[in-house]
Symmetry: C2
Subunit: 269 residues, 2 copies
DNA sequence: GGTAGTGTTCCAATATTCAGAACGCACTCC
DNA sequence: GGAGTGCGTTCTGAATATTGGAACACTACC
């Protein structure tokens, strides 16, 4: 573990989480490092363009460059591009957030999302992470994940709310049921008032690569509604899979500009 | 400039740009470092959860964690959240990509985007960066940026295509016109076949904080169409500004999970 | 079964990084 | 107005963290 690298990322993460530009001293304090150390780290991050000093001020803030790394990752994911219009269509038929989720290690990540037009809605920011076992889409992804992943999750179950699953066997049973019925439901396992339904999206080999989910406040998602949403999801997924299988290969590489994350050339060879 | 930090970011950027998992040796070569050095860097990034070894393989790939940093940045931007539904509405009236852009230093960044349903469309992945002077939204943002920013851009004009602006005075003139007429057009200045229109979005103080843009293939965007789109944009922007000014304060903080980018506590105080 | 390449481990040497002190500056509070 | 506090930044020397190279076990390919 290279220490300075760890510190740099911690500092950057801290800045991205802050709700405004931060002072050097506070950054140093928050990360338990000296001011001069923080200064060096920030200067480096600044040269790399991940951090900027707010205009004519000495405060530091994160730039959107870090967004670029992750976004590039997503744009490579042709599924997200293919699915987007279908999500839109689905979103028009449903007064809740519609999301496309992928598994990232032991996490559920929101890869795309259409916000509901309702005023009351659940939180679902793009890129949001949640433990696999605690959200509906995560359960779907987990149910179809390699055994090693399931084992690891089962080994480390923690309760986030009263409804969280904590018994490994109960989890495995639930996953089996999800595989059988083709969808998963999560009720207030992360957020007390939230409820969600999710169904698996498969690639042409039949492997589950994503989960389409609909989530909203508990009281709007009764049993009948859920059943209706599952039907809508399966219908949408059928279309997505067809469009994807139809050889849609994604856009060509986006244009590159100088200074934009260029690869260092090997100096010798 | 802390070298190990720089290398770490270069490696991560490289991985995010690659179109699949990479081998250690190739990573080392691509960054001009030794294998053992690359190994240490990757191991660190792995512990920090920015990099993962593809299942039962020795290949390395970037995780979506980097996406999280950037996404958090965006989610903090309440404008993006407020504007999203309005972008959707606009997108229904227009067969092109609809984008919300913000300025990040000297770059135009796509902060939100609704993809067009048309088959032929321009590239617009979320988080994409382009030089300010070369895209329509960037021109709008530049036109309303502090003088220091304009100066810096004017000082370093480079031609990306034949149509790129290279004369500083011409640029300033164009910016003045943009401020006057309330919108900007860019024609094939980045991508030969692409054309875009953009208009400024202001906060309650009247400062320009974003640009709403519509972009598509050249042949679909004639003069009349442009005029029509500008009208639609201004209409949409009026609604966005109203909704935003109406004290919409964004969602509460999203739930946090352990292990998720936790802040190191100061050890002493 | 040799050769070439790999990912990984180990070690020692030194270049790199860091803590601390020092400085000028902007504030605040008497 | 002047002492005092806390700031961002610079500098320096000490030492530690980082790095390159050699070595290893493995695999893949002739």
């Amino acid at each position: 573990m290279i220490k300075s690298v760890e510190k740099a990322f911690r500092v950057l993460e801290g800045l991205s989480r802050a709700d405004g530009p931060m002072r050097l001293s506070d950054i140093a304090r928050a990360n338990g490092i000296t001011r001069s150390n923080a200064f060096h780290l920030l200067q480096t991050l600044q040269e790399l363009d991940y951090v900027r000093q707010a205009e004519d001020s000495t405060l530091y803030e994160a730039t959107f460059r870090s967004f670029e790394i992750g976004a590039k990752l997503l744009s490579r994911n042709t599924l997200v591009a293919v699915a987007h219009p279908f999500l839109l269509r689905l979103s028009e038929q449903v007064p809740e957030n519609v999301m496309l989720n992928v598994r990232d290690g032991l996490w559920n990540v929101v890869a795309d999302r259409i916000e509901s037009r309702s005023v009351v809605r659940t939180l679902a920011y793009l890129g949001a992470r949640a433990p696999l076992q605690s959200v509906s889409s995560g359960k779907v992804l987990l149910a179809h994940a390699p055994a090693s992943v399931i084992d690891e999750v089962a080994r480390s179950l923690v309760a986030y709310t009263a409804r969280s699953i904590t018994d490994p066997d109960a989890l495995r049973e639930q996953l089996a049921r999800i595989r059988e019925q083709g969808y998963a439901v999560a009720i207030g396992e992360v957020n007390e008032d939230a409820k969600g339904v999710a169904s698996p999206v498969r690639d042409r080999h039949g492997d589950v690569v994503a989960a389409l989910s609909i989530a909203g406040p508990m009281n709007r998602l009764g049993e009948d509604t859920i059943a209706h949403y599952v039907a809508l999801q399966h219908d949408t997924i059928r279309r997505i899979e067809a469009a994807w299988a139809n050889g849609w290969r994604g856009d060509a590489a986006p244009p590159q500009f100088p200074g934009q994350a260029s690869v260092a050339r090997p100096s010798s060879a």
